[in-house]
């Protein structure tokens, strides 16, 4: 019993931040992301004995979180238009130059199609390889690499084309 508790606490400590961030980029809502993470870890606790390989813990947890997120849509359909989905409230946005830049980029990331954003989040936050992302999302590796390419390409174009408008956005 004690060892299970220790394992669990170590798992939470090491991975809750990444999982929260991943959840946030899935649903764009801090509170929902928090709920998702809580649900995920609760399920993880119940099924902790089935986790044999600690190295697989992160992708295991992400799989649980994705399923939790999908279940949210089964339970209840949220009325969210494209516009609302892209709106990110960030109280720290005006604090400094870096945060303004982050805010602007966050908005761009949020506006990206889900199918491009998810592999990018998994790669940048999760640190997963193309193969790992492919198996997590049940896609083939080439599709994942193409989506990653398009995702970065879109962000690059956005960064290249819009720097002068940034001030207007936040001013």
């Amino acid at each position: 019993m004690a060892t299970k508790q220790v394992r669990y606490e170590a798992l939470v400590k090491a991975l809750h931040a990444d999982l929260y961030r991943y959840g946030y980029w899935l649903c764009h809502d801090k509170h929902i992301a928090e709920d998702l993470v809580q649900e995920t870890f609760l399920r993880a606790w119940r099924a902790l004995d089935s986790l044999k390989d600690e190295k697989a813990a992160k992708s295991w947890l992400i799989t649980i979180l994705r399923r939790e997120n999908a279940r949210r849509f089964e339970r209840k359909r949220f009325d969210m238009s494209e516009y609302e989905e892209a709106t990110i409230t960030d109280v720290k946005a005006t604090s400094n130059e870096q945060e303004i830049e982050n805010y602007w980029l966050r908005e761009k990331i949020a506006q990206m199609p889900e199918e491009y954003r998810e592999p990018l989040v998994l790669q940048v936050i999760g640190g997963f390889s193309g193969e790992e992302i492919a198996s997590m999302l049940s896609l083939n590796k080439n599709t994942v690499m193409t989506r990653l390419f398009r995702a970065r390409n879109q962000l690059k174009e956005a960064v290249d084309n819009e720097p002068t408008l940034r001030g207007l956005h936040n001013g």
Partner: protein, 237 residues
């Protein structure tokens, strides 16, 4: 590796550069610049994605798990208690069943077992030691009497026949003793008219409130024995 391929692989995975890619950008200033640009973009993306985690999320997660596992344990204790109670209940039933129910399925099985158990006490060349009067004394308990003796009656006494009091008579037979049981009609045990195993055979007769069972070996004319018993016995009310 052509230009497009280089751009594609850098954009799809900036950190996962393989040897072919490194070779391709080594002597190409434009490509090196592109790599730097994308690295910088990736840093920005990582920074932008690195949204602040709410304070105390870790503590909340631990708390929820502690509460959940506490509840789980409570319900487990309840389940265990219920299981222990069920086991005790079933054990009670089993003991009850074993102590107060017939071990044998029918009269025939019991009669054969009884005869086998006592076979060593009786030899077939005994003398008639029981008088008609003493036999009828004993028969009084079953509200019956014999009008005459038949055959050589070597032994007559009360016996326990699967929990009920019975009268056990042993007659001299052709090659081995013939056993006659007189016992009250007991509904708990199934009545069978004919029964046999590899050595013994037997017949049962049901009267108003008694059963008479005759058991002998295979050579014995059991039917004849039964007819004799039937003829000589009278039942009082």
């Amino acid at each position: 590796m052509d230009d497009l391929q280089v751009r594609r692989s850098i954009l799809s995975d900036p950190k996962g550069r393989d040897d072919a890619l490194n070779e391709a950008i080594k002597n190409d200033i434009a490509k090196q610049k592109f790599v730097q640009e994308i690295d910088a973009l990736d840093d920005k993306i990582a920074q932008a994605m690195n949204i602040p985690v709410p304070d105390g999320l870790y503590d909340k997660l631990i708390l929820r798990q502690t509460l959940a596992s506490h509840q789980q344990q409570k319900s487990k204790t309840r389940v265990r208690l219920a299981m222990a109670a069920s086991v005790a209940f079933v054990m009670g039933l089993t003991v009850n069943f074993m102590m107060f129910s017939s071990t044998y399925k029918n009269l025939g099985d019991y009669a054969i077992a009884h005869v086998n158990h006592e076979a060593s006490h009786f030899s077939n060349n005994g003398q008639p030691t029981v008088t008609l009067a003493s036999l009828n004394d004993k028969m009084a308990a079953f509200k019956g009497s014999f009008n005459s003796t038949f055959g050589t009656l070597m032994f007559a006494d009360y016996c326990h026949f699967d929990g009920s009091k019975s009268l056990h008579l042993v007659f001299q037979g052709q090659s081995s003793p013939v056993n006659v049981f007189i016992l009250p009609d007991d509904k708990d045990i199934e009545f069978v008219a004919n029964f046999a195993n590899d050595k013994l055979q037997g017949r049962s007769l049901n009267f108003n409130h008694s059963n008479i069972i005759v058991v002998g070996d295979k050579k014995e004319p059991i039917q004849q024995w039964q007819d004799r018993v039937k003829k000589s016995i009278t039942w009082s009310i």
